[in-house]
């Protein structure tokens, strides 16, 4: 078991030791913990259920911050797949790029990726907010249920495919919309939301030509009169 300190050298501990040290620190009310040499290791800071600031000085692997509820995580480096999957609350800031399935199924909290993400960012989001400073890959926002995804750069093919609800904002180019994803009118409320979310990240929201994407709701219930929509979905 790692000694309870506010600094951990990951290279000297197993993943279990690191995670248990983080959880112990959070339980003891340690305000902030720094982790050096994460060297893209998987499953770091998983299911931390209490507030604490966790800072990784370097790249992390898959599932970093997965299932957390209240922790605030900062990664100074790139992330592997599925950063923050099923996040309940709290925040994750990635100062680099992230892999596919970024913010998969998050229910609350906020994930910020300064760079680009791989495919399927925001897949099956059930709440919360994902902000991507760069571009997102193929089929991002797939089967989104609730929440907000803001993409400052470009969106690859199939953005918002089969969304149930939720909102996607894209500041750059959209390669193509996914099945039943439609563009909606951008209102003042949307502009205020974008300014509120992007301002703290140092991004000027007014400098972009935003597109707002929502569910067309043709896939909510089957209709034999909507063959075209269903052919794409099925």
């Amino acid at each position: 078991m790692a000694t309870l300190t506010s600094d951990i050298d990951c290279s000297r501990h197993t993943t279990r030791e690191i995670n248990q040290a983080i959880k112990l620190a959070a339980a003891d009310g340690v305000p902030e913990i720094h982790l050096a040499n994460p060297t893209a290791r998987h499953c770091l800071a998983v299911a931390v259920m209490q507030p604490i600031d966790i800072v990784f000085d370097g790249p992390v692997g898959w599932f970093c911050g997965g299932m957390c509820d209240g922790a605030r995580i900062t990664v100074h480096g790139n992330c592997g797949w599925s950063v923050g999957e099923n996040l309940m609350s709290g925040s994750i800031s990635v100062h680099g790029n992230s892999g596919s399935s970024t913010a998969a199924t998050i229910r609350g909290g906020r994930i910020f990726v300064a760079g680009d993400t791989g495919a399927r960012a925001g897949i099956s989001m059930k709440g919360g907010t994902l902000v991507v400073g760069g571009s997102v890959g193929y089929m991002s926002g797939f089967m989104m249920q609730r929440g907000t995804m803001i993409v400052c750069g470009d969106a690859a093919d199939g953005i918002g495919d089969s969304m149930y609800e939720g909102t996607v904002y894209v500041g750059g180019e959209i390669a193509s919309l996914g099945a039943d994803c439609i563009e909606a009118e951008l209102g003042d409320d949307d502009r205020e939301l974008l300014a509120r979310e992007l301002g703290p990240q140092g991004i000027d929201s007014s400098a972009k030509d935003w597109k707002k994407l929502v569910a067309g709701r043709k896939l909510w219930n089957f209709s034999r009169h909507e063959y075209d929509a269903w052919r794409g979905a099925l």
Partner: protein, 470 residues
Amino acid sequence: MSEFVPRGADGHVLQKLWVWSPETIQDIQTKAELGRYTNRALGTTRRTPHFEDLTFVPCTLSRVPLEGYRETCRTDIEIGARHGAKPIRLRTPITIAGMSYGALSRNAKAALGTAATRVGISTTTGDGGMLDLEREASDQLVYQVLPSRYGFNPHHLRIANAAEIVIGQGAKPGTGGVLLGAKVSEIIAEARTLPPGVDQRSPCRHPDFVGPDDLQIKIEELREATDGSIPIYVKIGACRVPDDVKLACKAGADVIVIDGLEGGTGASPDSLMDHTGIPTLAATVEAVAAIREMRLEGVVNLIVSGGIRNGIDAAKALALGADAVSIGTAAMIALNCNRNVHVEDYARMGTEPGACHHCHTGLCPVGIATQDEDLIARLPVPEAADRVEGFLHSMTQEMQMFARACGKSAVHDLEPEDLRAMTIEASAITGIPLVGTNFAFRPESFAQAVVEAMAAASTNGHVTPHGAHH
């Protein structure tokens, strides 16, 4: 002349066409009306190679049975200890399969949990997450991690006794679930973060991992989330069983659940239920062989499910090498599914008791597969739990009965030698000799027979395979 031959008005025999049978004609006309495939619940309409096609050969003169009503016959087993987690302790080798709160009513889930606890076995959550009532009722609750993650809550994961990553379902492998709008009530919609009344189509792929190498990392994540304290199951719809089982073993599964094509579902396109996957019998044999090939027999536990109807099927599955069986549909039927009551409500759906597979409509007349409060009230939890408990006891007794008759003091001592195949097909699938032949219809058996025949011919001075005379 038989009066059962269908005849036309003028007395001529009516000839039905095999390709264009009345069922096929109805199927086409229904689809033409709906404009889509048809959905159904429960399971396949096909007669598959099944445990039914095996028979036990108990002790007679050559072997000595145990006294049926006197001698001890153990049924308990611990599963999931491969990586040091607290194992699931089954007092009898049965588990209640994952069925969602949403497809099932809260009373049904509570009754299943109550019965499982009384009998000393585990029950399983489903799509839609963990119901508080279910957690309270179940001493040992397996928490499913499904592709949809509807209702998934890490706090619930941490109070579960095991986690089960669902890769697929025997009734519809390779596809996601369906919950038609009629069952997506306000409560269910909120639990699944969906708009009420939508036709909910669950994804088939997990949102955060894809292949077997990824699965290994996902398992690691679940272990980290639970501090390694609970076993991790991987549930697979039976298709390429040898490959899938080996990959799950390598990925670190503690328990593998193989769900054959006879497996149940709350709603699915019926074409999938009838035309995908392989039968549980075949899947059991292949899974046991795969685990053995990995040299993980007794280390990775195997649960088989899909069409297990009673203790007889369960005993045969154990004899083939499974550690436990899982029941879903049978447990629902024990709850009261298809009971001959409220017949008028069955009729309203165009069906009748004994032939109802209309779970997907949400109009279940006996309060199991519904979210309608009036219908749910027809399933009081205590009585429903009593029925399931009784059925589970009967399954245990049946397993013990066959084990004792075969001279075994534990149901897990049943073995393939205790069985014979009733059909060539079952023999070919299981490698168990066909009744009356002492011959298993497997490729290796034929090869051996050829070698033996040639050896006999050689001894008699006939030509050997190499052409030399003796």
